[in-house]
Assembly symmetry: C2
Homo-oligomer: 329 residues x 2
């Protein structure tokens, strides 16, 4: 492992000159530059980023905390965040919270230890105050931590209304929604909006809850089973994509025709909604934009470029599939 000193010695110049040549900062005469280039090539010198990090007091790494990397929404989110960070010269560290608050806390602590320059969090199991303790750059996706941490999210309220309108157009009379349970998250708004819109129009709405940190297929399957047994007469279901798919399979298993007997509407519109048959109608979150906005908001904090918007809410739209009767208006 050749160091900058070795290069300097080999080229017969001082370390400062080598540094300036390498980083194209300050003057270096063509002649010395040539000597340095030769020495670099000969010794196969690569700057040690660890030393640079210490000097600059930054790592160039951003931590991304998600509840479960193996959930299609989050894997897509992390993918898009990585693409955006890469474009801006940052690296992505992934943090799977998997519902364990200790893990979330430990990853959050990386801020103080200078392992990451900032954090984008989409996880919800750690107490909000633990986040507020940190002064370092943080961006929250979908969870409201109050005025100190900028939040980026989708317009869940509009999404809930859109889903409700679809149910109305399908002529449904008694629908059910599956909610996650977690306070202060935007996702809650979609269920409130969904329920209100429907009840205002005389539709009965039942609600089932599910732990927001459990994402294995088994749980969705069980929940779907429970729901269909408990509510055999419902004619519409609104849930996250995976829950909706599980319910769809269960409904069909019980001999229901889709979408004649029951409307199914997912939220997120992850790729699985296209893979199932019929394709699942779903409210789409704009993951690409979600990633872009959260990354730029975080980097603006890190690089102190400009004022930070506290709350950025993105539009959602409907992806029409075959699980609702209504098509595009």
């Amino acid at each position: 492992m050749a160091s900058i000193k070795d290069v300097a010695k080999e080229a017969g110049v001082g370390v400062g000159t080598v540094s300036r040549a390498i980083n194209n900062t300050g003057y270096v005469s063509p002649a010395t530059r040539k000597k340095i280039d030769k020495a670099v090539a000969k010794l196969k010198y690569t700057p040690n980023e660890l030393a640079r990090n210490l000097f600059r007091n930054r790592s160039g790494i951003v931590g991304v905390i998600v509840p479960d990397l193996d959930h299609p929404f989050f894997s897509s989110l992390v993918k898009n965040i990585e693409m955006q960070l890469y474009r801006q010269g940052y690296k992505t560290m992934v943090c799977n919270a998997v519902g364990v608050s200790d893990r979330e806390r430990e990853y959050l602590d990386m801020l103080e230890r200078n392992i990451v320059d900032g954090i984008i969090t989409g996880s919800h199991c750690l107490d909000g105050e633990e986040y507020l303790k940190h002064e370092k750059p943080i961006v929250s996706i979908d969870r409201d931590f109050g005025p100190k941490i900028p939040i980026v999210g989708s317009d869940h309220m509009m999404g809930g209304q859109m889903a409700a309108r679809l149910m109305l157009r399908d002529g449904r009379k008694h629908v059910l929604q599956i909610c996650g349970v977690s306070p202060h998250i935007l996702a809650n708004e979609r269920h409130l909006a969904f329920q209100k819109t429907l009840e205002d129009n005389g539709v009965r709405v039942s609600t089932e809850t599910m732990d927001w940190n459990v994402f294995d297929w088994e749980s969705f399957h069980k929940t779907a089973l429970k729901i269909m047994e408990k509510h055999p007469h419902i004619d519409g279901i609104f849930s996250g994509d995976l829950g909706a798919v599980a319910c769809m399979n269960m409904a069909r298993h019980r001999g229901m025709e889709i979408p004649e007997d029951i409307s199914l509407i997912g939220f997120d519109a992850t790729s699985v909604t296209q893979m199932v048959h019929p394709q699942l109608t779903a409210i789409r979150q704009n993951v690409e934009l979600l990633a872009e906005v959260s990354v730029s908001t975080l980097l603006d904090q890190i690089e102190q470029k400009r004022d930070i918007l506290h709350r950025q809410i993105l539009n959602v739209d409907v992806c029409y599939g075959g699980t609702t009767k209504a098509g595009p208006e």
Copy 2:
């Protein structure tokens, strides 16, 4: 940002003593320890990992390169790798190659720049020699780089045979397989084994290829369409999970009954195989074990614990779904 110096001053001791106290290395009297603890608490001191990294010349970070984070197999793989690395005190940096060899190369270069202590790669688009240039710890998943880089993978050959046997038990006469195109990867063996086993038994096997770096659903959909038009009379398809699901939808769209008219067998057995209806029969790769073995093989290299096995091949098994007639033997 309090430094160790501030703590030393506050506690009225030397920095060396503080370091020893913090790390529990060397002697520190109970009295001084107390003073130090108090100073640490008062100043809210947290050690700067950047400085430690420089001294130790390691970052505690492992890079994981995958073709596409948003593919269910890789998101599951990365998730499991992260869990294993976390247990061993390492952090995970994700690298989405997305089929761009420059990105793969740039991430690989992080080894020389000491940004990561090692790399686990599941990507295939960069030339093998670029990998061999590095002397640092690397583990390859599924791709054979020759004797210098340890390889961990599934027994694709056995998987191909298992799939072939299922086709035989289903009484198929003309099947098709979808292969990725990439040299030196273990996945190729499964198609050779599949083809040989079937042809030895008088079954005709057609092969279609697909770019191994393209994973968007659109491409699978198009490929499925092309295949069904080109080969309207096939009665069996063997492909990666997503390709098989796409073909299943297409087959049904053309009025075929499943599994009466056609058998579909996936490879990987990712979660989507359970979500679709009927569930897709698939050869399962043991992702948990794949992650565990590749992580331990990498850490053994990093920490120079013991001799490294060059080639570790893991068993696969069949996940029976409703897309084949044959059930468990």
